[in-house]
Amino acid sequence: MSRNWEAHLPAALLAFAASAVLYGLIPAPNTVVAATSRTGEHLQYASPIELAFSHNGRLLYVLCQGTDELRVLDGITHTQLKKIAVGHLPRGFAFSPDGSRIFVANSWDDTISVIDTKTQSVDATWSVGAEPSSVAEDPSGHFLFVADRISNDVAVLDAKTGAEQKRLAAGRGASYMTLSPDGSRLYVSHVYHNTDKPRTAPHSEITVIDTNRGIVDTRISLPYIAHGFHVAFSTDGRVGALAEMHPKNLVPLAHLEHGGAFADTLTLFGADVGPKPVEVPLDNLEQYAARPFGVAITPDKSKLFVTCGGSEAVLAIDLERLLAYIHMHKQPFTEDLSASGNYVVARITVGHDPRGVTLTPDGKQLLVANRLEDTISVIDTHSNRLVQTISLEGPKRLSVLRHGEQTFYSAKFSFQGQIGCANCHIDSTFDGLQWDLEPDGFGRDIVDNRPIEDLKGTEPYKWNGTNPNLPTECGPRTEKYFWRSETFDDLTLTDLVTYIRSIPARPNRWRLPNGEFTPAQERGKEIFERSVDRFGKPIAETDRCNYCHSGPKGTDQKRFNVGTKKPTDDTGLFDTPQLTNIALSAPYLHDGSATTLEEIWTIYNPHDKHGRTNDLTKDELNDLIEYLRTR
């Protein structure tokens, strides 16, 4: 079957599509956004991220991250019936087994909103772990599981009271959970890779939880996978699929034209797949499937759909062909750009940053939440065609921030639409990976990816501090060394930079609510600010923590040699990194060689060049780290 989807569109649909583009409903694929009118207003967009039908299919629930709401729509007409206010930045929701309650994971205020589906109102709000991102109740209604992205665990709550019973060790960045069709197992995926030794291939996992016992049953290892998103199962439970990203960060990032940055893939597992999981590529030579996120398998097991946030598209996959292909071909074939042509049967353009998906109860339609467009795309699962776009009645005007965010999450600006900013800055954060960028020479100047929260006042950028401002960082440098194309017009670059500068810091979970410090944090603060070592000897000003890590962001915005230069580094002078939410962004140092905060000083500071620390006892070093976590 041809992959040229346009060739199969009837004229009427093409006309509809053209008018939709004209009216801004659907962006034109792989075209540079023209300088359209943008407003400087701060507009509140709905930003739908997940959606699901009620058990009887009569209602459609849409989780709107931008407005902190769960919206209730008529399941047939899609008329908006109610907006239920929930906590801040909700990221996931799930029904109780009997459908009487909905649990919403509010990622920035660390709560679960419990909604009574009869009254369509919040019944209770439960405090949970750090950055809850999804939630699931076991079939017996005994346990409520909550995936905590920051604390890398799954909290097990009493489903009746919300009382936390225990935490299960998950992988790093535990975020999305899917129950197996029989409800006996819960599959947890992770947006970050499990931290390992520096310059080793990333690997992640699917944590499999026994829902009856509330313990980790096993872990499906995902070699080379750094970022996992949604899992879906066939109704018979014999096929599971994870949408994921496979970075190629061990080789120089210089071969985008050869698909050298990321492979966008699925990992398939289950009885129909065989004893070992199989990673399958979604990319095609001219049509990449940037940032796979949401997955659904039709009830008849004929099709698998996957949203590709960066590509602003949904891929339709013939599941039977896909299974036949993996059984006929020797693995791995992840980087085979001709493989997906054997099973991807359609590429359906949808809105900006498509995320969560859900199927109508009869499986005839797939609904897609277009996060950065405030729309829901409706796709006919038989014809693989877009049949409707539902507006969530967001602001009609496009703000500078919104356009900047669309630019950030789109892959359309890079060569062949392969990657976008959000490939490495997962949900506008970081990726925990180290990259070998070209300008310094192959194999030289390996750099750790830094977070981009609350960047204002932390310039210059790059580890060597040579980019004085964000327009330089995000403009020519990005175009030349990442995108391999000249694509941003001036206004688009301005909007992108404005958006990046607007990204706030996540709430710090180590700070006490009253602003005070714990005794350990207080002791650590004294060490951070000390001018005399434990032997009473004055510490030179430049050897004090708060000399370089000064000011509100913890950076003096200057370069310093802290003795971490490697033989492959061109310089030992590195930009002083800000300390904003430093606890979250492991690994550390310019090349990510320190896997934990402790290693910065226990391994990589033998001569006190990174501050006077070798006089500290282990207790004191622990106290210093406790304080740093509050920054």
Partner: protein
């Protein structure tokens, strides 16, 4: 302070007579099943058929430091990796799998999550769903890489190391270090830990027993009233010796092992056990595990010993012939040899755990499974 062996023995006898139902209940689930009649000449003590595991039948190393029962699964900490025994097969985890170090000194089960914690000569490892995470003094807040003891209670992992004690909170990921700066600890060579909901006990080499009250968050300390004097001047008036090796707290009774005898403390009275006046086969005791307030198992350098509150049983290869041996000592001090055909793999016992009525024993020359015999 009231004390003395005769009074203590009287309490035990009266207790046994007054609470037959309790004894019967304990006998149903624990490996001291048949409580003897106080007047019997040869007390009826538990019998076992020992099956021994060595490198010859799947163990990665004969030197077994620790053993942990996790339902039908057995974990053995050896000098050459962590061995898992399930469905009759051994599987070994090594540093290649992420284990902190090959010598696994201590083991603990998190009963809530099913995770197993392994203290090694090179750090602390968590085995969870087949994945191993390792915490060291370099990459975490762990006080020292030589982890002699580990115990899990609630959301905390309590750790005994060669340079102080520490605690990892599994919810906040915070480490708390305990040493001479913030506890009554004199030495910081911490050899064992037993954490319970009410109290946490540390056996500190040269510093007696440290007690942490979970409610008040206060520390207390139990020492040898004789100080560092090697002569027992004040028997049954405190801990038998400062050089403690193991501790077990059960039914509000503290059992403490040292290289110079053992002790039992019920919160008011101490009782000391020495080879010369008890059935303890050796004062050199590596391990103690209380079954309840009145029953305990001891791992010594001269065999495995069981104390039922009055009588003693010793299980070992004979010190002279090497042949399997079981001896029973009654309250009057009379020792009777019981004919047996099996014994633990070696006299040097380092660890003990229970599996229903069965017992698992870590020794210097193999792991032993004592299968309870009716």
């Amino acid at each position: 302070m009231k004390n003395g062996w005769s009074e203590f023995a009287m309490i035990l006898v009266l207790g046994a007579l007054a609470a037959p139902a309790h004894a019967a209940e304990s006998a149903h689930t624990l490996p001291h099943v048949k409580v003897h009649a106080a007047t019997a000449t040869i007390p009826q003590m538990p019998h076992f058929r020992f099956v021994n595991y060595t490198t010859a039948n799947g163990l990665p190393d004969d030197h077994v430091y620790s053993v942990l029962v996790d339902g039908d699964r057995i974990w053995a900490g050896t000098d050459n990796g962590l061995a898992e025994f399930e469905d009759g097969k051994w599987k070994t985890y090594t540093t290649r799998d992420g284990l902190a170090q090959q010598a696994v000194l201590s083991l603990a089960l998190d009963k809530q999550t099913g995770d197993v914690w392994a203290g090694t000569m090179g750090g602390l490892s968590r085995i969870s769903g087949g994945r191993i995470d390792t915490f060291t003094q370099l990459n975490s807040g762990l006080s020292n890489d030589v982890v002699y003891g580990v115990s899990v209670e609630g959301e905390n992992v309590w750790v005994a190391t060669a340079a102080g004690a520490c605690r990892l909170n599994l919810r906040t990921h915070d480490w708390s270090l305990y040493n001479e700066r913030n506890t009554p600890m004199v030495e910081i060579w911490v050899y064992a830990v037993n954490a319970t909901p009410s109290k946490v006990y540390y056996a500190v080499w040269g510093s007696g027993i440290l007690e942490y009250n979970q409610k008040t968050k206060a520390w207390d300390k139990y020492e040898d009233p004789d100080g560092e004097n090697e002569i027992v001047l004040f028997k049954d008036q405190g801990l038998i010796h400062e050089i403690t090796t193991s501790v077990s707290f059960v039914d509000n009774v503290l059992w403490a092992a040292t290289y110079f005898g053992d002790s039992r403390y019920d919160g008011r009275y101490w009782h000391n056990f020495l080879t010369k006046d008890s059935g303890l086969p050796s004062n050199f005791t590596n391990f103690v595990k209380g079954v309840d307030a009145n029953h305990a198992w001891f791992g010594t350098d001269k065999g495995l010993a069981y104390y039922d509150g009055t009588n003693w049983a010793v299980y070992r290869p004979s010190l002279t012939t090497g042949k399997p041996e079981m001896t029973v000592r009654n309250a009057a001090g009379k020792v009777t040899e019981i004919p047996v055909t099996t014994a633990p793999a070696h006299n040097y016992v380092l660890g003990i755990d229970f599996q229903g009525k069965d017992i698992w024993v870590a020794t210097a020359k193999g792991l032993s499974h004592g299968i309870y015999q009716k």
